[in-house]
Symmetry: C2
Subunit: 207 residues, 2 copies
């Protein structure tokens, strides 16, 4: 068969859907993976680590990478740049890793456009809106305003579930994890179009 290529797994869904818990549950079974994190020009804060909380880069580097079309998306907040850089993604893909994105519906479309041939996308959601509200209140890490914002966003995003390859309803976490594990393993079998083209080229030549 063809060598293991890097592939992409996109996870979207409301904050409170349980994406992080699900990844933790399946991480031992899915092989080498890279969890995509944002890149920023803002200074590192106490307790933060390069490559854990963000990739920290200089403004010059960030702008050069925008010009080099290395960002899936980027924005400026309070004078600092934030974005999803393709550079660490490409590195992880070259190492044959499963690259996991926790990204919104816009981000999913951007990834589909750039890396569609090796991407599998999953929308993860709590079973009902009231269950989502309950979970957000229970974990009590967010202010009332933040929770309201998250719920508004969830109502908008769930309308676009059909843009994903799979919908996983996180009601029973063990069941949801087994479904996601199955999807992630199959996501590994995607072959990049350039590798397919090489194979097709060689196909008629080899004797």
């Amino acid at each position: 068969m063809i060598e293991n290529n890097g592939v992409v797994l996109v996870l979207s869904g409301p904050s409170g859907a349980g994406k992080s818990s699900l990844i933790n549950k399946i991480s031992d079974d899915i092989g080498a993976y890279y969890f995509s994190i944002s890149t920023t020009t803002r200074p590192m804060r106490e307790g933060e680590e390069e490559g854990v909380h963000y990739h920290f880069v200089s403004k010059e580097e960030f702008i050069k990478d925008i010009e080099g079309d290395n960002f899936l998306e980027h924005a400026v907040v309070h004078g600092n740049y934030y974005g999803t850089s393709l550079k660490p993604v490409r590195k992880a893909l070259a190492e044959g890793k499963l690259v996991i994105f926790d990204i919104d519906v816009q981000g999913n479309m951007a990834i589909k456009n750039r890396l569609g041939d090796i991407t599998t996308s999953v929308f993860i959601t709590p079973p009902t809106l009231s269950e989502l509200e309950k979970r957000l209140l229970d974990r009590s890490t967010d202010s009332k305003e933040v929770i309201e914002g998250r719920i508004k966003m969830a109502k908008r995003e769930i309308q676009r579930t059909a843009e994903y390859d799979f919908l996983v309803i996180n009601d029973d976490i063990d069941l949801a994890a087994s479904v996601l594990r199955q999807i992630a393993k199959t996501a590994r079998l995607k072959i990049p179009h350039d590798v397919i083209n090489d194979f097709v080229q060689r196909w008629e030549d080899v004797d």
Copy 2:
């Protein structure tokens, strides 16, 4: 979670790629499935069975189904109609079955257009053209002309491998079967868009 829905698995690839052997190897593990067969108006021949070799229907029935847009594709050969009817497919889907199509690249595109939300497509190929030639000669069921036709067709079809969700190179049959089994199990997790829409509708209502 959501009830088990019927889903579609498309298998394409040259005659001699080993599709039938692969399906036989995985059939016990993939649950209830329906293998799509063609519908025809030609008379049943000795030894043929309805629902095994073809679905045999009257000309009137066939034409009514063309008008009802029930055919993925159809053609007339020597005055007899042949086609891929969606009627038995819809019945099998309603029963929650995995519907398997052994169909060419045109057929794959037709299925994508009609049933794309629940379809997973796989192109299966021998590792090289010379291996394909060897297999076709070895099984010696076809005339030289037929084999030449199959090889010509294979050269054309392999160029369109990238239109499929997965490429499976059937070199070691056990390895290829385990890959296909994995893909078929994940194919089961696809949810039809109308079921997703119902879920999204209900999502905000349930308390």
